[in-house]
């Protein structure tokens, strides 16, 4: 892996991220804006999935999905920039890997939603209660994503970055 990290340190992206005093704070601001929009959209979608807010038609929560995906994309891109800027610090920090594992877990949870829950929801009326599996997926989603947020914020304080 050290070859990969050493290569990252030689890239133009590394220079972009570290080369200007404004680049890191700008990326952080975008990362925070992205996380707010992502968590806001997820809260509305997952609370409905769990069974709260039944005045929201099931189809209407879908309109939030593009915003959640766009916000996640912003955070993925800015996150990759951080990693290219300081690969040894992140890769040597267990909090970073805990965060990544939770992102992957949230990804699998989304696949579960997409293939096992959504087809069921499409057969329901707009204000119907949601099935048990939908509630499980909703609770897991909020747990994983708030975990991602917590481990991300704790990153500088948990574990010591290797280098």
């Amino acid at each position: 892996m050290h070859h990969l990290y050493d290569w990252m340190l030689t890239t133009w992206l590394n220079k972009l991220v570290l080369g200007y005093p404004w680049s890191w704070p700008t990326l952080e601001s975008l990362h925070f804006l992205g996380l707010c929009v992502l968590m806001g959209a997820l809260l509305v979608m997952d609370l409905r999935l769990i069974g709260f807010q039944r005045t929201i038609p099931l189809k209407a929560v879908h309109s939030l999905m593009p915003w959640a995906i766009a916000a996640f994309a912003i955070n993925l891109i800015t996150g990759v920039c951080f990693f290219f800027g300081d690969p040894y610090n992140y890769s040597g920090n267990w909090s970073f890997w805990a965060k990544m594992i939770l992102v992957v877990a949230a990804g699998f949870n989304f696949l579960l939603y997409f293939f096992a829950v959504e087809p069921k929801l499409l057969r329901l009326g707009p204000h119907d209660p949601t099935p048990g599996l939908a509630k499980v997926v909703g609770v897991l989603s909020l747990t994983f994503w708030f975990g991602v947020l917590a481990f991300g914020r704790l990153l500088p304080y948990l574990g010591t970055g290797g280098g």
Binding site: S29, C36, L43, L64, L149
Partner: protein
């Protein structure tokens, strides 16, 4: 300044500043509260501006109390963060700008809440221009609050 020095000498300030778990705990709660408050307020604002038009206004009214839970978390955690370095924050222009923007953002949510209660009387079922303007201003306040909040960590560079 004596008042801020007194705050900074308090037990709470010492716990946040000195203990191994204090600052990480409080800063993480602050991020969680921010995600809840800003995230939900932005969704409500976007809805009032015409996005996600399948979501009924009465549902937004029920989202705002959840947003206020986030605001409460951040008022408490933010107080902890403030007292830990009160004398520094009290004179930091970036921090003062951030706090004013947060209160301005919260004020837009506070104004929108009773307006949403009247949603059934809106002509044509659409929010009146006044409400839409507040929603648009709300998004701008939150955006600026987040950026200035993040930049507060970079005081050295800017002052």
């Amino acid at each position: 300044m004596a008042f801020f020095a007194w705050l900074e000498a308090s037990k709470l300030a010492e716990w946040v500043r000195m203990s191994s778990e204090g600052y990480p705990t409080v800063i993480t709660l602050h991020a969680i509260g921010m995600a809840i408050m800003v995230g939900l307020c932005v969704i409500v604002d976007l809805r009032l501006l015409g996005r996600f038009d399948g979501i009924p206004y009465e549902a937004l009214q029920k989202l705002l109390p959840v947003a206020w839970v986030g605001f409460l978390i951040n008022t408490l955690s933010g107080s902890g963060l403030f007292v830990a370095q009160a004398t520094m924050f009290a004179t930091d222009l970036m921090f003062i700008a951030k706090i004013l923007l947060v209160f301005a953002g919260a004020a837009t949510a506070g104004i929108l809440q009773p307006e949403l209660a009247k949603a059934s009387t809106w002509p044509g079922g659409k929010p009146p221009p006044r409400v839409r303007n507040i929603a648009a201003i709300g998004i701008v306040f939150w955006l600026c609050a987040i950026v200035t909040g993040r930049l507060t960590a970079y005081i050295m560079i800017f002052i």
